[in-house]
């Protein structure tokens, strides 16, 4: 009997799940519902097309629709699933017969937190998400002289940089004392702010948006510090889990609003799996559930969910969350906790900070790197890191996430081996220097 696996959502988690399900059980009927017009593209690349670093949206498309058709996937584009009936094992699509499933995978992703202020319904407010909408907005950007980016969450940081690259007068407005203040530390973001100013970005921190002004289309933003004229506004707000369907079906949600899952990505409902931005998973060091990670997390979770739905249970492990992005001319990144998050939670830590360089000091175009390591007092096990630098941030974050997962200590990192090659690595590895400084702070050097 054919196993029918229905996937709701066609982004990283959904398509990862669909692909894994077909891989495990090639005879399975895999049905994907997506509200969008495309699947298998990288929405994370959209800001870089807007910023002209990437010359075409076509480059963001990984696989065409014909590929999935040839592989036997049934993909329903621009189709909204309106309800899940767990008792009947069906999903409901308005105007169509209910679709029966043996296994269901929820990959419903995120939705932006809508600003609860006057003018939220005006035209000219851009929520970056869908590649088709991004293509239309890209044409609008050719006519825009002044733009406001509302909130310096990660997408706001990337879009402020992109708009500035494009030569648009850009105003970044954020209620916090520094950009990305819920994730990154102020000393890590300081070089980014400086480079934004060099790019001509106007930064309005500690500033709240009170209203979007206009009749049909936004023409200004009213803030706690006055009005800013704007031809458009990019909403860089927080991402929230999109769990209306799961909640209506009675599937359990956690304190983050994400769907509760186990290590096989199974939800509280039998035969129903979930993955991506709509779920919460435990953070590795503390066990605290967290939600809204990167596309690579969503894809990996989707693979686990799809495999399980097709009959082969795989396990997903608690996360240490290596992350990174580009802000201004800098790369910033981290692992699990910085001073801000650890301080908010009240996790005690020993801090080791160092500045180094990415290549030999005599090699052209070397870049500065600032590394900050957080370790558990006593054991000195790594619990978090933050980095800002001109290059080499991603690799260090990946390494430090694995170091935290494996329980490495500042002692281990302080005297680690490292590549020394003038064109790609300096004699003194900045992570090792930071760990040595951490040991000195802890009185264990």
């Amino acid at each position: 009997m054919t196993n029918t696996i229905v996937v709701i959502g066609g982004s990283a988690a959904g398509m990862g799940a669909a692909g894994a399900a077909k891989q495990v059980d090639p005879d399975a009927r895999v049905v994907v519902f997506t509200e969008l017009s495309d699947v298998a593209y990288s929405p994370c690349g959209i800001p870089y097309v807007h910023g002209k670093e990437i010359d075409s949206f076509d480059r963001l498309i990984l696989l065409g629709k014909d590929h999935y058709e040839a592989q036997g996937f049934e993909i329903h584009y621009e189709t909204v699933v309106s309800a899940i009936n767990l008792a009947a094992r069906t999903v409901e699509v308005p105007g169509q017969p209910a679709v029966r499933f043996d296994r269901l995978i929820l990959a419903t992703g995120f939705e932006y937190e809508r600003p609860d202020i006057p003018g939220g319904e005006l035209d000219g407010l851009y929520y970056v998400r869908d590649i088709r909408a991004a293509q239309r907005w890209d044409e609008v950007l050719d006519t825009v002289k002044r733009a406001v980016v509302a909130e310096a969450q990660p997408i706001g940081v990337e879009m402020a940089t992109a708009l500035a690259h494009r030569g648009i007068e850009t105003h970044l407005v954020d209620p916090h004392p520094w950009a990305m203040a819920e994730i990154a530390d102020p000393d890590i973001m300081a070089p980014v702010e400086e480079s934004w100013r060099e790019l001509g970005v106007h930064i309005h921190l500690n500033t709240r948006i009170k209203a979007f002004l206009g009749t049909e289309r936004v023409h200004a933003v009213k803030t706690s510090d006055g009005e800013i004229p704007a031809d458009m506004v990019v909403i860089g707000a927080k991402k929230l889990p999109n769990n209306h369907l799961a909640a209506q079906a009675g599937i359990k949600l956690g304190s983050t609003g994400g769907i509760i899952v186990d290590d096989h990505m199974r939800t509280s409902a039998a035969g129903v799996f979930a993955a991506g931005d709509c779920v919460e998973v435990p953070q590795g060091t503390t066990g605290v559930p967290i939600q809204g990670l990167s596309g690579s997390h969503a894809y990996a979770q989707g693979k686990v969910a799809g495999s399980g739905a097709a009959g082969k249970l795989r396990s997903y492990a608690p996360v240490y969350v290596p992350w990174g992005l580009v802000g201004g001319k800098w790369m910033v990144g981290g692992v699990s906790f910085g001073e801000t998050l650890a301080g908010a939670l009240g996790i005690p830590f020993v801090l080791g900070v160092a500045e180094g360089i990415s290549r030999a000091r005599y090699y052209p175009d070397f870049k500065k790197i600032r590394v900050k390591l957080l370790a558990e007092p006593g054991t000195l096990k790594l619990i978090g890191a933050q980095i800002v630098g001109g290059e080499g941030v991603k690799e260090r974050c990946d390494f430090l996430a694995m170091a935290a997962r494996q329980g490495l200590t500042l002692h281990d990192i302080a005297w680690m081996e490292n590549v020394y090659s003038p064109a790609m690595g300096a004699l003194n590895e900045p992570m090792a220097l930071a760990a040595q400084n951490g040991l000195a702070t802890a009185g264990q050097s």
């Binding site: 359990k252 983050t256 779920v279 435990p282 605290v288 009240g346």
Partner: protein, 78 residues
């Protein structure tokens, strides 16, 4: 019940973050914190909850957090 835990997490997270952001902005940037209106909600979370939470040892805080429902209460192999 889930709605209650989400409300607790959302508010505690917001006010604990704001408190530490004020500390770090002062230490690293010399920037003052924003001062908002003192609504009953702000008085409770900012002036009662945050100072009380900060006095508790991490292990106690962690136990309380982990007692809430969530994915961490289901099976996870490390």
């Amino acid at each position: 019940m889930n709605g209650f835990f989400r409300w607790v997490r959302t508010n505690s997270q917001k006010y604990l973050l704001e408190a530490v952001q004020a500390d770090l902005a002062h230490r690293y940037l010399g920037r003052p914190p924003t001062v908002g209106p003192k609504t009953p909600q702000v008085i409770f979370w900012k002036f009662l909850f945050v100072p009380l939470y900060r006095r508790l040892p991490w292990k106690v805080k962690q136990s309380v957090i982990l007692a809430m429902p969530g994915s961490h209460r289901r099976h996870w192999s490390s």
